[in-house]
Every structure is written in C-alpha cells, then in structure tokens.
Subunit: 462 residues, 3 copies
C-alpha cells in the first residue's frame, strides 16, 4: 500500500468518527506548558502510535529561553461567604489561569476582581488565560458569573505547585525509504479546548497511524510538544538534524466547519506551499491561502530566520478568526467529525503530492514517441479532442526535461497531480520516462538521494 491509497481504503465517515472520539477522550485533561496533563496526553497518544517521550529539566537553557518550573494543579475555587464554590476548577479546566501560583487567602470582591477574567462580549463563555513567565494567579469565568458575584468576602484556593521538574514532549518517527524528513508538528499545551488544539493532535495521530502501514519515500517525524517552548527545545536539541527536513506542516484548528486555510512557510514558494496550493485548487471546495507572517503557531520558531524551514500551517479557521477561539466555546460541539475527516483527506493528499513529486527525464526527447505502438494511444485519427489520459502523457513527455517536477507540470497543465502521476507510471513502465538523478548529493542522506533507491521505490509502486 502507498500513501495515495490511504484515503481510498477507508470507508467514508470512519476516520472522522475515530478522530472525534479521540478529541473527546483528551478533552477533560488539564494540559499546560508543563506538567502531568501533558504527560497523560502523550501516554494516550502512545496507545495509538509509537511515541518516544522526552523530558527536559527546568532551568535548561535553550537559545534565548530557559525551561521554566513545572506546574501542576489539583484543585482551585473561589467560595462565597456561604461556603459555596462560585468558581470551581472541577467544573472546567479553564477556570484557573494557567501557571497560577498556589494561593490560599480571603479577599473582598474588589481586590479579587484584579484576578478575574471574563469576556463581556460573550457572557456565557469562559476565557483561556495563562501567565507562564510572570508569577501571578487568576480565575477565568463567564461574564454572567462575574456580574452575579456579591460584594462580600471570598475564600480563594489554588492548590497548585510550581517547582523544578520537566517540560515533556513526544516524537513519533516513521522510517521511510530515505532519511529525508517530513515534519508534522502539533502543540499539546492547551487544556479543554477542542479546535485549538485537540483537533490537530487527533489529525496527527490518524495520519501517523495509517502511514505506518504504507511504503513511503520520506521519513516522518510527528512532534507533539507544548507551543513555542516545545519547538524551541526540539530545535535546540536537534539543530544539526533540521537539514534533513524537506517539508513540514504545522497542524492547528482542523476540526471546525470553516473552509480550509493554509498559511505559507516563510519561504513562500517551498514545495510544501505549492503542494498544498495545488491540492486546494483541485479540492472543489472554497479555501484560503495566506502569506507567512510571524504571528500564529509554531511557524514562529520553525520559520525564524536562523532556521527558515519549509514549514507551513494547515488549518481550517485560523487562530483568532473564530469567536470561540481560546474560550470554553471551543468545545466538543464546535469540532465536527466531517470537518476532521475532510482535514485528514486533505492532509493525505498533500503527502501524496510530496511523496510522488519526482522529476522525470523523457528518454525519447526528440519529437513525440509513438505511443500508439505501445498501446497508449488511440488507433483511429481525426477526433477533435485528446482523451485525458493521452493529454496527461503528452504533458509528462513534453515537460520531463529535467527542469520540471511532476508538481511543476501539474501547475503548468492545470491537470490534477494524481492524473499526471498515473501517466508517469504508465510511461515509466514503457521506459519512456526515468526518474532524474539529483544533481547534488545531500550531506548525511547519501543513501536517500541515490537515484537507484528512487527508481526502486517507484518500481515497487507500479
């Protein structure tokens, strides 16, 4: 089985349901930048795909940053004078500001208010707030709750700990025919928020799970790490190996009902940028492609100028562009099985393009080869139009001059990538096309770059 077959072989609806199920399973866990919520999340991911878990000690220096203390929380509440929990962490993880220091004290409403966060424009939603690097504490609550608080004394309890410990992340590495890598990165630090970011964890798992059973040219690295600091730690620890990363996708917000949005890598014309654009253009659905900007998800790190990796970001509605973003309304209803499945299919289509985007050489470049004698062409002449198969073969032959990859030809011809790939397969079978040898050996991936391997791998496929 190869990547192209993944989507085909699964009954419609199955993957979406499976993905939504996994979102539901992870929803109650209270994740943060560090701590047991992340550990538990990674443990459960590891039940589905092979996962290596890594821990980095508090105080470790990574580029301009330092791994902070580990935060864990057991309970938190605000009790009114009657002893009732008017804000209760046990009811929703978002009620406590992430990284709140331990607190036990009594306060009048007026003083307490400086520590309360609500969304007046969405009075029934609890906002999501954190204070990772500035020691502080706070509660988040619905604006309706806030207005109902009486002017009395409250008992405040945050039963958390902020101590030396570790930052935890997980990697799933799938060995391919070459050591060249495709990086798929998902953050895992958000507590009970579904689109951002349980949807993308669930998508990464679903893709990794299926890739395991297929032949793939690239090796894959699925990274599950807390946002910002996770990739910074990973990049600091794997700086030399980043040269192997040929393509990358950050997954985020892939479960809402909005149209698919792709944010280009900093390079703007990376192969992955073009592969996604091609896939979206032929998807038959509305979509949006945004230029790179240094605000958003972990592209802020992967695409920092010192790395400038070819990593784009696949989303549906982007961060900050749906009202439910970073609030309790980003819940199990907000993400849909259909949307998750559609994101899965698109992700697989992108990988299919990247996996098969070889540059071929026409073995018969002077005039057209006679396709008819090979059974690849009509026997009777005079008709007004070529069949789509014939057209795809003619495009492949005419532009397989060593300067155009299959994706280049797809862009030039307007034909869908899979049609050209099939034409290329047929022509290769008749020795009319051959995979081009790469001009430059890539250090550290000599094996992967050998044309023999490429030919071998493509022969397996046909």
């Amino acid at each position: 089985m190869q990547v192209a077959d993944i989507a085909v072989r699964v009954e419609a609806g199955t993957i979406g349901r499976e993905m939504h199920q996994f979102v539901t399973e992870l929803y109650p866990i209270c994740r943060s930048l560090t701590g047991d919520g992340v550990r538990e999340t990674l443990r459960r991911i590891g039940q589905h795909i092979p996962l290596t878990i890594r821990e980095v000690a508090s105080g470790t220096e990574v580029f301009d940053w330092t791994v902070p203390k580990e935060w864990n929380i057991r309970d938190a509440y605000v009790k009114n004078s009657k002893g009732e929990r008017v804000i209760d962490f046990r009811k929703h993880n978002l009620h406590v500001m992430g990284y709140s220091v331990p607190v036990r004290q009594k306060m009048l409403l007026n003083d307490l208010k400086a520590h309360l966060h609500s969304l007046p424009e969405h009075p029934d939603w609890i906002p999501y707030r954190t204070s990772y690097y500035n020691e502080n504490w706070g509660f988040c609550l619905t604006h309706r709750q806030l207005l109902e608080l009486k002017d009395e004394e409250y008992e405040i309890c945050i039963d958390s700990s902020l101590e030396n410990g570790h930052l935890t992340y997980g990697e799933c590495y799938l060995t391919g025919e070459t050591t060249e890598e495709i990086l798929v990165s998902s953050h895992v630090c958000h507590p009970s928020l579904c689109n951002d970011n349980l949807s993308s964890i669930s998508l990464a798992i679903a893709v990794a799970k299926r890739l395991k059973g297929t032949a793939h040219r690239y090796s894959y690295r699925f990274l599950f790490a807390p946002a910002t600091l996770g990739p910074i730690v990973w990049l600091a620890q794997n700086e030399a190996q980043t040269a192997r990363i040929r393509h990358g996708l950050i997954l985020a917000c892939v479960g809402d009902p909005g149209k698919t949005t792709y944010k280009k890598s900093r390079r703007g014309d990376a192969e992955v940028d073009r592969a996604v654009a091609h896939m979206l253009k032929h998807s038959g659905q509305d979509y949006q492609i945004n230029e790179f900007s240094p605000w958003g998800y972990d592209e802020r790190q992967y695409c920092s100028p010192g790395f400038n990796l070819p990593v784009g970001c696949l989303m549906r509605t982007p961060n900050g562009c749906f009202p439910e973003y970073h609030s309790s309304a980003d819940d199990l209803e907000f993400v849909r099985a259909e949307s998750l499945e559609d994101s899965f299919n698109k992700c697989v289509s992108i990988l299919e393009v990247l996996e098969n985007n070889y540059t071929y050489l026409n073995q018969n470049p002077k005039c057209e080869p006679r396709l008819g004698k090979r059974g690849l062409y009509r026997t009777m002449g005079g008709q007004a139009h070529a069949t789509s198969n014939e057209l795809a073969m003619l495009w492949m032959l005419n532009f397989s001059d060593g300067k155009h990859s299959l994706l280049d030809i797809a862009e030039k011809s307007g034909l869908p990538f899979p049609a050209l790939r099939q034409a290329a397969d047929a022509l290769r079978e008749h020795h009319l096309l051959k995979v081009q040898m790469p001009e430059v050996q890539i250090a550290g991936s000599a094996e992967s770059a050998s044309p023999a391997a490429a030919e071998k791998s493509s022969e397996k496929r046909s």
Copy 2:
C-alpha cells in the same frame, strides 16, 4: 522593397481572392499521409513558388517512428442490393477512412456498421477519419445516410493500395542576408478540408511569393509536409541545422471568420511570441493568445523537449474549437477571402517585426541630444504634448542602451513597432543610433551575425 512594404503595395481584396482561388484549386485532391494526392498538391504549390520536393522511403526509421507504406486510392463505394452506390468516394473524398486497406466483399448491414462513421450531432456532415498505423478500413457518411441504410446485403469496394513507397514533402527556401532562419510550417495531409488545412497552405504560398521580391534579413524555410510524421522526418534529417532557426510559425486554420488565435511556443517568451502579441495588441481587433500545450499541430514535434524550437502557431479558430472541424462542413464556403487576407496581413506584420527587431545603441547617451538642431524637433516650446514622432524618438534614444531591442521598447512605451522603427531610421540617419554588435558569435552563422552586415542591411532600407 522590404517586408514592411508587402501589405501596403497590394490592392485590398486581391490577395484574399488569390488565396481563396488556390484553396478551391486544391480542394478536390485526395491527400493523405503519403501518396499521389500529396505529390499533386506539392506540384501545384511549385507552380507558384520555388519548391524542392523530397521523398522518404517506407521503412525509414525516424526517431521513434518508421515511415509507413504509401497509400493510394482510386475508387471506393458501398452498393446496395439494387447496385446503387449508397456511399461513393467519387462524391466526396471524406467518404473513405484514410489509409483504408483494399476491400472487396459483401456484408450485411449489421456487420458493415462496425466500419461506418457518422456524426449524430451534425446529421448532414461527413466526418474525417484515418487509421494510419493500424490496418483497418472504413467509410464515413452523413448520419442521415446512415439512418437510411436498409437492413440488406451490401457490396463493399475499396480500391486502394498500401505498399512500399514514399512519404513526400516540399521545402521552399528563400535566401536572406543571413543564414539565420525563419521557419514557416504547414501540413499538407488533409483531404477535402478547407480551413484545416488548405487555408494555411494558401497563406504560406502567398507570403513566400511576396517575400521573394523583397530584401530580407532572415532566410526563410517554408515547409509543406504531412502532419506529425512530416516534421518528424524533417527534424531527423536536418537536426544539426535546427540551430539556425531563430523563429518559427506553424500556420493552421487561417481562413475561418473567427478572431485570430496565437498559441505560444513552449518557451512562452520567445521573440516570435512577443512579436505576435505586439502585433495583435495593436491590430485593433479582438484576439486570443493561448499558452503552449502539447496537443494541437506540429508544435508537438518542433517544441518537443529535445528541440524546443521557438515556434508558435498562428490560427484563427483553433483545431477542435469550431464545429465544422474535421468534417465535410469545413468546405469552400467556410473559409472566406477576407479572413484569408486578414491572416496574410497579420503574418506579414509579424515578419516585419522580426525582420526589424534590432537592438540599437544611443551614440549620445548622456542627456538628450539636441534634436532641434537636426530638424527633428519642434522649434517653439510650451505646448502640452509631444508629437508622436518626437515621442517615438525620445523612447528610442532613452532605451537604446544595448539592453532593449526595438520590440522591448515597443512593449515598454505602448507605441506601435512601425512608429518606433521609423524613429530609429531617422535617428540612425543622423548618427544618433547605431545597431548594436551581437555579443556572441553564433556558430555556423558568422557572416550573418556580423554587425557590418546588419548595418549594411539597415542602410539599404533607409
């Protein structure tokens, strides 16, 4: 006389009538990939322009192809039980599928039907069908005829021969001031079909005939050859000489009343592509420019990756885009004298651009030269606008820095090429412009590339 004068010197209507007359003369001849129909066509072309006829034996290997047996036909019919010819080759050449093998037998309608071709959507038209490389036979007929055939036994006769012989083509070579060539290519294998392709044969003749009487910088090669295999044979036999081809035009479908369409060369930015685009933009008529695709006419061979010649295709309505295409409705009424003449004028305008597209050097590049003292500029100042002559001279002077050809300046300025050419002539007379020496000598055309020759040729003109 020079190329620019061709269109001017002929009375409107004359050339169109002459071209239509030639279409009429060639219409009854039954052409095919090989055979006496092509020979007779070339003989008649040779009555108007100097033509070298070449024959290539059946069995000759040309790249991936082999020259097939020669096909000739004398008669063909289907007779009903009363002995009436219900399908009769003598009534229309299209009634027999090209390259039909000899047949003499009786058949019931049901068996015969497998060999009958009609166009249900155009019940009065006879389709055009061939089977060059697969031994087969067939009749083409109107759908109305087909429906009228009774369920009885028919007598089938195809009095053809398919034997070792030759493929025939013709070349008209007009020596210019240099050995650099402009290739004009027309296919000659279609039987009684007027727009595709008698119109283009007739255009090529009309242009070649007039070029003979003019001074021209380029040598011209007019190729009259059967489609696909003709150019393949020519390219195989003249591979080394293709380096001389600076520009090329395939002519096809140039007689219908539709707007002019140009299909770019594979390069997409060849000088001929830009010359045609410029001419069309200033034509004052609607037009269409299409990107290259590897489906159509003989650009499939000239623009195969091993040659990649700068050859575009000049048409009116393209192949497959008019309903009459490849049917008996592509007849003497379908092509119009006015359309033929308009195509002639456009073709000559393109050649005028190519012939005169020199790069000049401003001999006085620091500040403007004083045009007034040379009588080239107004004597009184203060008016709001420059005259068009003044503007054209200022554009030529400002951009004749050795990096901009006359066509570059035409594109930049929005002024028509002929106006700039006249300005260049005036400035050259006053030694303010000089033709730039080419930087690189082109192998095999040392004489042609000498700047002295270029200057000489341009001096002749002024």
Copy 3:
C-alpha cells in the same frame, strides 16, 4: 531633531501659508532660460536657504548642447492706430514669447497674426510660448483679445536683448553624516506660472530650510536650475560626482488641488520609487503612480541612459494634464496652501523612509528571542491578537536576516514604515537588532559606508 520630527513639530497650516507666500513673492518676476529673472529668483531663494549661485557663459559646450545667448527683456507691446497698448508686457509676463528677439516695426494685422498665439478653447487665458533655439519673436494673448484686433496697422515693440552672457543656476548643499546624496531638483525658468513651477521651488525651499535643523544621514543637494539645459549643464560639470547620488526627486506641479502623482525613475524599482509608493499607499489619500517615460521634466536628462540616476518625479496633477497648464490660468488662485502643505508633508515622509531604510541583522536569529523578559511583550497569554507594537517587533526580528531592508519589511508586512522603525529602535536598544555592514565599500564614500558611522548615527537617534 531628526527628519521624522519635521512634520510633527510644525503647526498645521503654517507651512502651507509660508509656501504660498513665497509663490506670491516670486510670481511677478519674468524668468526664462537665462537672464536677470532667474538671477533675481535665485537671490530671493538665497534669503531662505544657503545657496551657491553659478554662472555658465554663453557658447559653453555641454554634451550635445551649447549654452545660448542670454535673454533679457524690459518692455514689449503692440499699439493700435490710436497708440493704445492692445498687448502689453507690463500687464502680464506671458504676453511675450520667451526669447523673442528685439523688434520695432509697424505691421498690418494680417502680417502680425503669424506672430500671435492664443488658445481658442480657453478664450480668456494667455498661453505660454518660447523659442529658445530658433530666433523668432511673438506675442501671446487671450483669444478674446485676438478677435477684437481690428484690421489696421500696429506698432510693434519688443525691447529685449539677446547677447552673450550666462546661464545661471543655484545649489543648496546640506552636509549629512555621509557623502551619499539625495538630489532634489526644481526648474526655475518659468515666468508667471504658479503650479509649474513656483510651487516646486517653494516646496524645495521649505524642505531644505527644515532639514538644516535636523540630523540627517544623507547629504542633500537642492538644485534650482532652468529646465532641460540647467540639469544638462550640471550633469556635464559634475559627471564624476553623480555616483554619489543615491536617490533623487524632481519636484514639479505640487500646489494644485489634484491627487499626488509620482512618476517612477527609469529604473522603475529604485529605492526612491519604492519609498514613494509605500508612503502613498499609507497616506490614506487617493494617488497615482506612473511608469517612467522619456517625456516630462528633467528626468529626461537625469534618467538618460548614460546617467540612469534613481530620480523620480513628485507631482500632483502632472504636466499637460490640467487645462491651466502653461497658461495664465496657472495663477495664484490655482495653487492652494493646503495642497502645498500636503506635498510638503509627503515629501518629508519620503525622506524619512530613505533616511531610515537600514538593513538590520537579528542578533538572535534562531527561534524568537524572549521579548517578555525585556519588557517588550505581554505577560499574560491567551489573547486572540498581537498588539501592533508586538507585531512590528516580530516582523523586524523575523525578516532582519540581512536580505531585507526596513522598507522591504514594510512592504512585506503591510505595516507603516514609522511603526517598524520604532520597533527597530526598541529592538536595537536591547541589542536584538544591529545595522548590517554593507558588503561593498562605495568608492569615495568610505567614511559614509562604515557600519560604525551607521550605528553611531542611529544611536544618536534613539
């Protein structure tokens, strides 16, 4: 004080009034290509800014040109048979064609008419005409005046002199931190015409006056010279020094109420072209950007191919595009204080961009630096959007890779240049950005190109 502060520090309206006042002062002087009108104009300019006045003798050869005789005029009239001045130079400078030779004679109306110029389509306006290089004489008058002239004998007097003398121009040079120059050029040869060209003289003075009091990286050369021949003379005399000109602006027609128009330099992508485009895009006003053409103002000389200087032309309504152009209707009412002030503000904004368009190097290019610990970033996380300060800093950090100047980043991000400049200042203060060393030493400006100087200059600023 630096360039960015100029516009801020002046009360709205002040500069517009001052500029209009200067237009009013210069309006009555009869300027021409040479003569005392230009001298008097330069003398008055010199009362506001330091001006070096240069005289070049008649007969001096400059490139393809020769400095002509000097022209001066004292009086001119046409008297009717009653001795009344029916055309009177004392009433309007435009009544006499510039460079009219001395005349004293009697003529019948019919003969006189060959020397009379009017505008039938604007019967109340006097046209502006000159005859610099062809000895001639003439009167300009309203078409209404012309129609009223009776068929009688007239007494003609032009009390002018055309003798060996000088062409006069002025330069104001303001030394900056480097010897690299910004050229600002204004023609000074038009008599009583306000938009073309008193408005631009007045703008150049206003800008030069304020620049004197600021720290500026570039040296500035303000050139006040007669159109065409003035720049030709200057270029001939300063050919070697033109290499110092990094950017240039021709000012013309900057006082009318129309939208701002910028005509690009011949290069089309010069830094000044991009700086103006950026400023206009963020101006919140309608505007127009035109491609270069070799017709207009002194860009015809600066942008001749032998110089090809990066000089654009800043205007409101361009030459020839307002009906009042080159007529008596281009008067003190036609130019407005508000328009003059708006042009001033735009001009200063352009200089602000050019002055500050450094390329920076992110000192911490691997992953984002932790802005929070430097007090440059929010302490609480979770909000949907970055503040504009944060965004500007992230853009600066991400693209300060040595390949993107501040203006490049402004174009890429869509953020206004001043916001990015402030972000750059803050980041430089925290040693997160550093000005990039130029790769190549520019001959003759070793001092200016030293990165130390650049750093020093930018430190002064912060």
